[in-house]
């Protein structure tokens, strides 16, 4: 296992270098002119701006030198300047990160808990209607476009029924809690402001469900399969023979072991969550990185798009690494590598 961990840790910077190279390639792909990915079209006729951009990104030098300059800028946290907001892309992303983090974590909670619940129910009622129902519900979640389920659920729960608030993170009348983490639910609790907390939570329910539903299927499917696997083993029979109640057998004996493979999939579902967050945020006008990416793409704001892509890939890689390591530690039976 030690070798595996070391190998993964060594691979990490190499992969990040690969990601940066792809980003470099992308910026050169843009309309066949890397300048187009740095300078807004309107500014192209302004020699001063063009000159400054060329110098900052080394575009007047050879390709290998440009690559080095690009990497150096990246390492310094310089992702360029957004055409749209006229601010550093890194600053924009930093400001919007907490909103996305809050949404993704909430969705992960929803997805993981309901996924495990659905999986256990499905395994317990194997091949009965509750099993089929649970599987269908999960499958719909992974087949439904989140930008559509978001719209429909928003319409139903906020307009027709009036149970939940409309899009956004807070009511227009509610002020954001003092900044600590940038996640409104946590910050409002830290400030002891219960009313803001409830408001933030209400706003979080629908997008977190929409996003969580998308990964519920992946998780419940795996939990069901590994529960069935575990339930057929002898120690379960032993537990039953010793008179353990069904709930005890399911939760204490079976689920514990069935959860080990689930760990990987929770990390893996992170990819789906990032993917889904991009679209969910757009529907719920959630001011996170996802809606930033979409707004940037819509206005062909290249520095912003490429910047978000790099940050997204880095987050994705780190999540995968953490999952992988957690898995290696949680399951001593497996000696990876």
């Amino acid at each position: 296992m030690f070798r595996h961990v070391v190998r993964r840790l060594i691979a990490m910077p190499l992969l990040l270098l690969g990601v940066a190279s792809v980003a470099f390639l992308l910026s050169h792909l843009t309309r066949g002119d890397p300048l187009a990915s740095i300078v807004p079209e309107r500014q192209m006729s302004n020699p001063a701006v063009v000159e400054a951009a060329k110098r900052r990104w080394g575009l007047d030098r050879s390709l290998p030198e440009q690559y080095v300059v690009y990497l150096r800028n990246l390492l310094a946290g310089d992702l360029g300047t957004s055409f749209r907001t006229k601010r550093a892309v890194a600053t924009d992303i930093g400001e919007r990160l907490p909103a996305t983090l809050e949404l993704v974590l909430a969705a992960m909670l929803v997805g993981t808990f309901s996924g495990i619940l659905l999986g256990v129910v499905a395994a317990h009622f194997r091949n009965r209607s509750l099993d089929h129902g649970a599987r269908l519900f999960a499958l719909i979640g992974s087949s439904i476009p989140v930008f559509w389920s978001g719209l429909i659920l928003l319409f139903v729960f906020s307009v027709v029924l009036g149970w939940l608030p409309g899009p956004g993170r807070l009511d227009a009348r509610t002020a954001a809690p003092p900044f600590v983490t940038g996640m409104y639910t946590i910050d409002s609790l830290l400030a002891g402001d219960l009313r803001t907390f409830v408001d933030a939570l209400y706003h979080l329910v629908l997008p977190a469900f929409v996003l969580g539903w998308a990964v519920m299927g992946i998780i419940s499917r795996l939990v069901r399969a590994s529960m069935l696997d575990v339930l057929s083993q002898e120690y379960i029979l032993t537990a039953r023979a010793k008179g353990a109640g069904e709930r005890r057998v399911l939760l204490n004996h079976a689920l514990r072991n069935a959860l080990i493979p689930t760990l990987t999939i929770v990390g893996f579902s992170f990819a789906y969550l990032i993917t889904g967050a991009v679209l969910t945020e757009t529907v719920f006008t959630w001011p996170g990185i996802g809606s930033y990416a979409v707004d940037s793409a819509r206005s062909l704001d290249y520095p912003a798009i490429i910047g978000v892509t790099i940050v997204g890939a880095a987050a994705f890689l780190i999540a995968n690494l953490v999952t992988d390591l957690a898995y290696a530690f949680a399951n001593p039976r497996i000696r990876l590598g």
Binding site: L15, V19, P145
Partner: protein, 277 residues
Amino acid sequence: MQLAPPATAAPGWLTLPVMVGGIVVAFWVVVALSVELWSPHAPLEMVARRLQPPSADHLLGTDALGRDVLSRTLHGARHSIPIAVVVVIAAVTLGALLGAGAGFFGGLVDDAIMRLVDVTLAFPPVLLAMAVAASLGPGLENAAIAMIIVWWPVYARLMRAQVLEVKEREHVEAAIAGGAGRFRLLGVHILPLCWTPVLINATMDFGQVVLLAASLSFIGLGALPPTPEWGSMISDGAVHFYQWWIAFGPGLAILTVVLGFNFLGDGLRDYLDPRTA
């Protein structure tokens, strides 16, 4: 340890989910092929007052330009289905070729190809597709190219693993002893045994490609207006949020297509690869 159950009659491939999935997919394929002939209205024709709710004349209402939403939804199949076919076939071909090459030749070829796979898979799919599509410029063709770039590594990995496994089997050794050349070995003795997981994955991925194509169009990087593409129709629906029917039809279309392919893929997996069922 539990013993394997005795071999009973094969489960048969025609299970209920496969049937439902097959019918749904067949429905959309038929629609894509024939909708021109029987569609109530042309997709770009302004046929009624704008933003009319569903009625007997217009089952799914009309959109902001007075076009019939049902007709547009049906015509959407003419964009979504072909693009999924093209993307999946291209990604499978490219990925399988590179993956097979990596697994068969090993060494430096393997390293080069697999590192490329690793890096591509390091990106969250939608973000990479968005970045590539945006760099190439909006449009359905560029979106397709972006999706192929996102998807081929999955198949490369699958194919490589298969080839590595099959390569070690005895019949391959026998073929080598019999003097089979490298390409004959790969083409005749190895590849034909590698397709099952690739095929299962491809079936499931059809739905995912439809979903991603619609997502890119929803964002504004795929099909451009006034093309009746499902994703861009939902994007119209998001603008006219209170006229829920504009987005309803195209969303349902995407859901049914994706669900259909998922059912089919599931059934195919249970049938072809009972180990993982």
